[in-house]
C-alpha cells in the first residue's frame, strides 16, 4: 500500500525538493548569520565567526533611541490598519465581481484593478504627490468643488497614515482579489442551485454559500498577514514621507534605513530585523492557534 502510494507520488516529491533546497540555501543559512550578527559588533573583514560578541547591547541601543516609542507605535498602527483594510477590501470586491455575469466586463474590471500592483512605489509616489497636491491635485479640486478647504494629505500628521493605508490598498487589492476569486470558482455550483431552489436571494446566497466557501482561504490569508504586523511598508513610506510627517510616518524600517545603511551600523540593523521576525513569528503562531480553535482550520 505504502509502496503503491510512493509509486504514485514520486514525481510530486521530485518537484518539491528544488524549492526546499532553494529555501534552505537562501533563507535558512543566512538566518544563522543574522542570529549571530545581532549579538555582535560586526566587522566585515572578520566575518560573523570572529567578530566580537556584545550580548544584548544592540537591542539596548535600539530601545534607548529617543524616538523609538513613537516609531514602534507608528509601525504597529499603520501595519494593522493595512492588514485589516487589505483583507476586507479584496473580499468585498471579489464577492461583487462574482456577481457580475457578463464575462467581458468581469475580466476588464479585474485587469484594471490589478494593474497598479505592477507599478513601483517610486513611480506611484510621483503620481500620488501630483493627484493629492493641495493646489493642483484632482482630489483637492473635488474637495474645493464641495466648498471645503484644501487638505494637505502628505504633510498633515492626521492625514498621512490614512493616505498610506488607502494608497496601499488601492495598489494591492486587485491583486489580492485574484486569490478570492479563485476560491469562489472552487465552490460547487450545486450548492448555489440548491439555495436558489430553496428561495435564497442573491444576497442570501452570498452570505450562506459564497462566504462560507471562502472561509478557509480568508482564515489562511488573515493568519499569514498577521506576520506583517511590524511591516508597515518601507518602500512606500520612504518615497512618500517628508520631515513634516516623521511624527506619524516614521516606522521601524525607515529608522533602520537611516541608522543601519546611511550610518553603516550593520549589527543594529540586523538586531532590528531579528526583533521584527520574532514578533512576527509570535503573531503567526497565535493566529494559527486561533484559527484552529474558532474556525477548526488546520494546514498541517
Amino acid at each position: 500500500m505504502k509502496a503503491l502510494r510512493w509509486k504514485n507520488q514520486w514525481p510530486l516529491h521530485l518537484m518539491i525538493w528544488p524549492a526546499v533546497a532553494l529555501l534552505f540555501v537562501y533563507s535558512y543559512v543566512p538566518i544563522a548569520g543574522a542570529l549571530f550578527m545581532a549579538f555582535q559588533k560586526f566587522n566585515p573583514a572578520k566575518g560573523v565567526f570572529a567578530s566580537p560578541w556584545v550580548g544584548l547591547d544592540n537591542f539596548r541601543y535600539i530601545f534607548s533611541m529617543p524616538d523609538m516609542g513613537r516609531v514602534l507605535f507608528n509601525t504597529v498602527y499603520i501595519a494593522s490598519m493595512k492588514i485589516v483594510a487589505g483583507l476586507l477590501v479584496p473580499i468585498a470586491f471579489a464577492l461583487m465581481l462574482n456577481e457580475v455575469r457578463v464575462a467581458a466586463v468581469k475580466r476588464t474590471f479585474q485587469t484594471l484593478v490589478y494593474l497598479p500592483h505592477f507599478l513601483s512605489w517610486v513611480i506611484l509616489s510621483g503620481i500620488l504627490i501630483d493627484i493629492l497636491s493641495p493646489s493642483e491635485g484632482i482630489v483637492n479640486k473635488a474637495i474645493a468643488g464641495l466648498g471645503l478647504e484644501p487638505v494637505f494629505f502628505l504633510t498633515d500628521n492626521r492625514w498621512f497614515p490614512f493616505v498610506l493605508v488607502t494608497s496601499d490598498v488601492w495598489k494591492e487589492f486587485g491583486y489580492a482579489t485574484i486569490i478570492y476569486l479563485a476560491a469562489l470558482t472552487s465552490i460547487n455550483p450545486a450548492l448555489y442551485e440548491a439555495a436558489e431552489i430553496d428561495g435564497a436571494s442573491r444576497w442570501k446566497r452570498t452570505l450562506y454559500v459564497s462566504l462560507p466557501g471562502m472561509a478557509p482561504i480568508i482564515v489562511l490569508m488573515a493568519a499569514l498577514s498577521l506576520g506583517n504586523v511590524l511591516n508597515a511598508g518601507f518602500e512606500q513610506i520612504f518615497n512618500l514621507y517628508n520631515a513634516l510627517v516623521y511624527e506619524s510616518g516614521d516606522v521601524i524600517d525607515t529608522l533602520v534605513y537611516r541608522i543601519g545603511l546611511e550610518q553603516a551600523q550593520y549589527s543594529v540593523a540586523t538586531a532590528v530585523g531579528l526583533f521584527k521576525s520574532l514578533v512576527s513569528m509570535f503573531f503567526i503562531v497565535i493566529s494559527y492557534g486561533l484559527a484552529y480553535r474558532f474556525a477548526n482550520y488546520r494546514l498541517f
Binding site: 543566512p30 548569520g33 566585515p44 510621483g126 517628508n242 520631515a243 553603516a264 550593520y266
Partner: protein
Amino acid sequence: MTKAKRTWIAALLVVALGTTAACSDGGGNKSEGQGEASASASQSPGQTGGDQSPDAQPEDIMAKYDPPIEISTGASVNPTVVWNPGESIDKNSVYDNYEQELGIRVKNKWAVDTSQYDAKVKITIASNDLPDFMYVQRADLDQLVKSDMVMDLTDLYEKYATPETKKFLTADGGAQLDSAKSDGKLMAIPRTDAPYVPAQILYIRNDWLKKLNLQAPKTMQDVLDISHAFATMDPDGNGKADTIGLSLQKEILASDSGLIGYFSSYHAYPGKWIKTASGQVEYGGIQPEVKTTLKRLQDMFKAGELDKEFMVKDSSKSAELLVSDKAGMVYGPFWMPSWPLQGGAVKDGKVVQDWGIYAVPSIDDKPALQPVDLGVTGYYVISKKAKHPEAVFKLLNRWVTALTRNDPTEDVAKYSQGSLKDKPQAYYTLNPVLVYNIGAQLYSGEMMPKAIKAKDPSMLNNENKINYENVMKFEAGDANQYGAYMAFKEGGSQPLLYEYFQEGRYLTNAYSGPPTATMADRWATLQAKEMEVFTKIITNGASVDEFDKYVEQWKTLGGAQITQEVNDWLQSH
C-alpha cells in the same frame, strides 16, 4: 475539506512561504558571496606590477598590459546618460579606450542607479566581497581601514602615480590627499574636486524684474522685496495670482534649490561646523542667526512667496515651477543653467526666459559667505585582494592627462564626453576613476570671459577649449548651448565663483575629520530632528520659538558630546 480545495491551499502555501522567505532576508544581507571571496583570497595579493618586471630597466609606468588584464569595480549608473546604440554601462567607448590604450579591461562587478550606490557599497562591505577597487564615502573608508580590508597605497602611490597626477592630487596644498591617510599611511585615493562646486548662486528672472520695474538686488532686503513683488504683482502677466517668489525643495540644505545661500545672507550656516568667537568649533545649525533666518522664511511662507507644497517635492519636482514660469527665483550651484533652467529657458531653439546670475547678497554690511567643504567628495579604495592594484593608478594617470593636457588632442572627447560630443549629458560619469582639479571652476571663471572677449581660445587648456566652442555655438545661434553660455560668459556662474574667491567669500567647514563615536550613533537622529523642526517652522506649523527648544534637545540628544569630540579631534590633529 475536498481534495481539490486541499491541493489548492497547499499550492497557495508554497507561494506564500516563498514570498515570506524572500522578504525575510532583507534584514541580514551578508554571507552571500563568501565562497567567491575566499577563492580569490588564495591568490597572492602582492604588489608586483602584473606582467612587468620591476627590477629590470626603469619601468614605463604607463606601459600597456599585454595580454590585457581585467580589474573589477562597482558602477554607479547616472540615469541621465544617453547611450549610443549598442552601448551600456558594461560596454562603452570610455571602457573601450582604456582597453585599447592601457590593456585594462574594466569589469563591473555590479552596477546600480546613482541614488542606490551608497547603500550598495555598504552591502558590499558587509558581505566582505569587494571588487578590486571602488568609490566609497568617508564613513565607509574609516570602516574599511578599521576592518583591514583595503590596501595601503603609500608605496604604490609613490611608484605608480605620475608627477603630473601627484601635482594634481596635492594642488590644494595637500589637505585633500591627507584626508585619505590613516596613521600616516595612504589608504585611498581622494576624489578631489573643487570645494566651490556646491557654492550657491542666486538666479533671478531678469525679464520679470524688467516687467515690474524693479532693480537688480544689492542687499538681502532687495531680494525679499523682489520675492514679494513676484508673488503679488503678476509678473507673467496672465491675470492670475499663480506665481511665487522663491522655488525650493524638501531637502532645504541641498545645494540645488536648497537654502544654503539664503541662510548665508543672515550669516547662518546649518549643516556646517564653524569657529566661533571663543575659538571653539560649534555646529552652525544651532546658532541664533538660524532662528532669524527661519523667522524670515516663515514670513515668506505665510505671504505665499514660497511653494506651499515644497515639503513633498524633490529637486526635479520643484524644478517644474521654474521651467513652467511659476517661480522667478532659485538658489543653486553654478551648473543650474544647464539643468534645470535650460529646460524652461530654451523652447523650439529660442531663448524665452531671461535668467540673471547674482552673487548672494547680505542683510547687513558684512558680506555673505558661502560655506564650502574640503572638496573631497569621496574616496577610491583598493581591495587587499586586488591582483593589479597599480592598474587603478594607470587609469588615474590617464584620466588626469586627459583633463590637463594642453596640446590639442581628442582626449577630453574620448574620456570626458565619450563618443557623444554633441550630447555629453553626464557621460564623464562612465569613467571608473574621476578626480577633478581643485581650481577648475576658478580657472575657467578667470580665463573663459577673457578668451570669449578676445575671441581667442589659444590661452585656454584643453577642457575649456571645448567649452569655448560651445559658447561660440551659442553666440552663433545654437540655443542648445544655453547652459554653457550662462556658465562661462562674462558675469556668468563660473566667473562669479572666481569673484567669490577673489573677495574671500568662502567659509570652509571647520571639521572635515571622520565621524566621531557619538556622531556614528546619533547623527542620523539629530539630522532628522533638524529637518523636522526647520521645516515645521518654515511652513508655519510651529512657532519660531520652537527653535530654542530644539537647540536644548539637540544638546542633550548627543550634540553637546559630539561638539566636545569634534573639538578634541581638532586639538589632536
